[in-house]
């Protein structure tokens, strides 16, 4: 087809939406596109479901990108992963096995309003774009708005702060829509992955407390294998471990919510880099960053098909 899409540049929200429709149109047997709700400003929250339609009760992996608007490498990675999954289905036995036995729910842009705003008005915007009564400051940190130890340590109750937890849990329609979808799919979703930037880390629960999760051994092993797979691409070292100790304590995060709601493997990636460019990772680094991260995500997904 004459649809040319450059995966090694950053794309606007409109371009990403057109790309999603095109993936859905050109891969009807392995791609389904649907919306799980609308954002604060009324934009659809589109999801791509990837996977061979082998049977209706397949296990599933959820992956969202772009929770924080300025972390552009996230949406770039979600698109890259979809492209890799579709292009390598025939040639890569690992990807073929994953697509045959799992469904992937991919949300290329979680915070659609914030992402659009970062393209048009403020490149360094982080939060959603909701309005807060009695305050001029806008937006909630979507990764402090989940109903798990909400607005406790590591989050702020002040609307003008970057880590504002919101007026109440799931106050953000984007968070509410994803939480509702994951609650409905609870029996099938076995892994939750959220893509952020930057710090080069792979984090798992808990974020809100210094404690060890019950299935620590299995999760630690999957994380270890994932960062090893990532390292095998270009030798980039990722730190990994519980978010509270590896990064910092924060409450109301999506990986803690997903874990508490029964998803056994929940991870947050902090992609490249460690600060040289920060949120302004050059387009020339999209390819290596996404190539290495694809290896890590495939390793996590493969871990679901093994017994632990």
């Amino acid at each position: 087809s004459d649809f040319q899409y450059d995966y090694e540049v950053y794309h606007s929200l409109d371009e990403i939406k057109s790309w999603m429709f095109e993936m859905n149109r050109t891969h009807p047997h392995v791609v389904d596109m649907f919306s799980i709700g609308r954002s604060y400003e009324g934009r659809p929250l589109y999801i791509l479901q990837l996977g061979k339609r082998t049977h209706p009760y397949k296990k599933a992996v959820w992956m969202d990108c772009g929770v924080h608007a300025r972390e552009w490498i996230g949406p770039a990675f979600c698109q890259w992963f979809v492209k890799e999954a579709l292009n390598s289905y025939r040639t890569d036995p690992v990807m073929r096995r994953l697509m045959n036995h799992l469904n992937f729910y991919i949300m290329p842009v979680f915070n659609v309003d914030g992402y659009h705003y970062s393209w048009t008005t403020d490149r360094l915007w982080r939060k959603t774009r909701s309005r807060i009564a009695r305050y001029q400051c806008r937006g909630v940190d979507a990764n402090r708005n989940w109903k798990v130890k909400w607005c406790d340590e590591g989050a702020s109750s002040h609307p003008c702060d970057e880590t504002y937890c919101g007026p109440y849990p799931e106050s953000e329609p984007e968070v509410k829509a994803v939480a509702r979808f994951l609650r409905k799919q609870r029996k099938r979703v076995k892994a939750y992955i959220s893509i952020h930037a930057y710090a080069q880390m792979l984090l798992y629960p808990y974020s809100y407390k210094y404690a060890t999760i019950p299935n620590f051994t299995c999760v630690e092993s999957v994380a270890h294998n994932a960062v090893n797979a990532l390292y095998s691409a270009y030798g980039v070292r990722y730190r990994y471990g519980p978010a509270s100790t590896t990064l910092y304590v924060s409450s109301g995060s999506s990986i803690d919510w997903a874990y508490k709601n029964g998803i056994p493997y929940t991870f947050a990636f902090e992609l490249r880099d460690t600060g040289h460019y920060g949120f302004l990772l050059p387009e020339s680094l999209i390819n290596p960053t996404c190539t290495e991260t694809t290896r890590a995500v495939k390793t996590i997904a493969s871990g679901l098909l093994k017994k632990c």
Binding site: Y10, G154, E162, L280
Partner: protein, 99 residues
């Protein structure tokens, strides 16, 4: 200009407080200056011996560096001109598209 040149002359500075006193000084400094914390993303998360990346407006750079130097707190510039870096991020793209 992209974003109406709003980031012209802004910088991203990495500050590394080593003692609890350094941490107190840095927190107080950032409360007074209007800064955009890149990492960590909240004042309460600043701790000793961990890097703090902060986006600072061009009008506050001199005061920030002067205060940090006065308090002997280690810092270095990660991005010397934010506007240029942002335009570089997308400018390349538009030429490619034209090609």
């Amino acid at each position: 200009h992209l974003y109406n040149n709003r980031y012209a002359g802004d910088q991203v500075v990495r500050v590394t407080p080593h003692t609890t006193e350094d941490v107190r000084v840095v927190k107080r400094l950032f409360e007074n200056l209007k800064v955009d914390l890149w990492r960590p993303n909240s004042l309460t998360l600043i701790q000793a011996d961990s890097d703090v990346d902060v986006h600072i407006g061009h009008g506050d750079i001199r005061e920030l560096k002067g205060r940090l130097k006065g308090a002997h707190i280690y810092h270095r510039v990660l991005i010397s001109n934010l506007q240029k870096e942002i335009e570089k991020q997308l400018a390349v793209r538009s030429t490619r598209k034209r090609r």
